[in-house]
Symmetry: C2
Subunit: 214 residues, 2 copies
């Protein structure tokens, strides 16, 4: 009997394109960041707070969404080069879509390209987009059980930003046991705490992503 | 050129199984409820608050998760008949999985079967599971932009439970404009407000689901 592993084949093909894309951007001296998280975790708000603090002429953003362009409009209003990628309902971005997007972008002077991924804690984790770093935004209102329930996202991220720290005192979220769970899955993961809404804890994250900033 | 619409074929096959499943449960006098929402929206906590208020001998629960059985253990501790469905990483449940689960359940005396779906605002909305009613749990911390960004979930739900209302005063969430957006997408949708964590606003939801209760 012949077994066709469709999903595996899709992922392998995607990985090949992701490697090619990473090399292409590496040759141009561009760092690619993949920003992930569940819907409403605060990815775009965090990105806004970061953009307020850096030289935006060196940054471009690819916004991933199912249908809308509201996030792209928010980012574009900062004067940042922005491309909207709509998947027409599909739940994740793939490396081929990023390749298509960058051919539309003028990358002259760009040093950092940021993908603001679709809100999804499952499918987006499976698809490499050629990134040098994965940053996952997680909010304390999502609950302590999520690392063990959605392990791939936490296993594959380089940086974990714990957002909405201003709300922690109104919840039963235990940050210490959360960190323990994350480090069991991913001992190398760097964890930062912030409130993007209250504009708190952002400088440390900017310092890591843009060491030459300020 | 032959075009193979793989996803459409998958969904059509799923819809057929869902119809068969709905008929099977209907013939037994069992109502099937599909509980959906993003990870951390509060589906399982809401379910716990409901179970505290009803005759649990008439209820069975199917817990959907990628790998873990922590939610099933929480529900089973109420003395409710519970089946854990693990997708081994897949992002959604399909009707065939529910069929498999119900053959493992003793449905004698059961009047309401509840599926606590995987946390995902995209893929789970596409797959009918034979339900009579869809209930989507959405928390105010997820932000105002979600109905328009993830329309299918809001278009296909019968009841929308807006959870974590205790946190609304610490956010910029506007409940009136949120409701307007939902009703543009889905004019028939009933919207309830609650805080499952604070055990507030639960009785109205129980009254709709179990009109003969109490």
């Amino acid at each position: 009997m012949k077994i066709i592993e469709v999903n595996k084949r899709v992922l392998e093909k995607n990985d090949d394109i992701a490697s090619r894309l990473n090399q292409y951007l590496h040759d141009k001296g561009i760092l690619l960041i993949n920003l992930l998280g569940t819907p409403g975790s605060g990815k775009t708000t965090l990105l806004e707070r970061i953009l307020e603090r850096v030289d935006i002429s060196k940054i471009a953003v690819i916004e991933g969404d199912l249908y809308t362009d509201s996030d792209a409009k928010r980012i574009e209003s900062f004067g940042v080069k922005t491309i909207q990628l709509n998947t027409c309902g599909a739940c994740h971005l793939e490396a081929s879509m990023i390749e298509e997007a960058i051919y539309e972008l003028d990358l002259t002077k760009i040093e950092v390209l940021i993908i603001d991924n679709i809100g999804n804690l499952v499918c987006t984790a499976e698809f490499k987009l050629g990134e040098d770093k994965r940053i996952t935004v997680f909010s304390v209102t999502e609950g302590n059980d999520k690392p063990l329930k959605y392990p791939l996202m936490f296993q594959t991220t380089d940086i974990l930003v714990v957002n909405k720290m201003d709300l922690i005192r109104h919840t039963n979220f235990n940050i210490e046991s959360f960190k323990k769970d994350v480090w069991v899955l991913n001992p190398q993961c760097s964890i930062y705490e912030c409130s993007a809404y209250r504009n708190e804890g952002i400088n440390d994250i900017v310092g890591i992503l843009f060491p030459s900033n300020g």
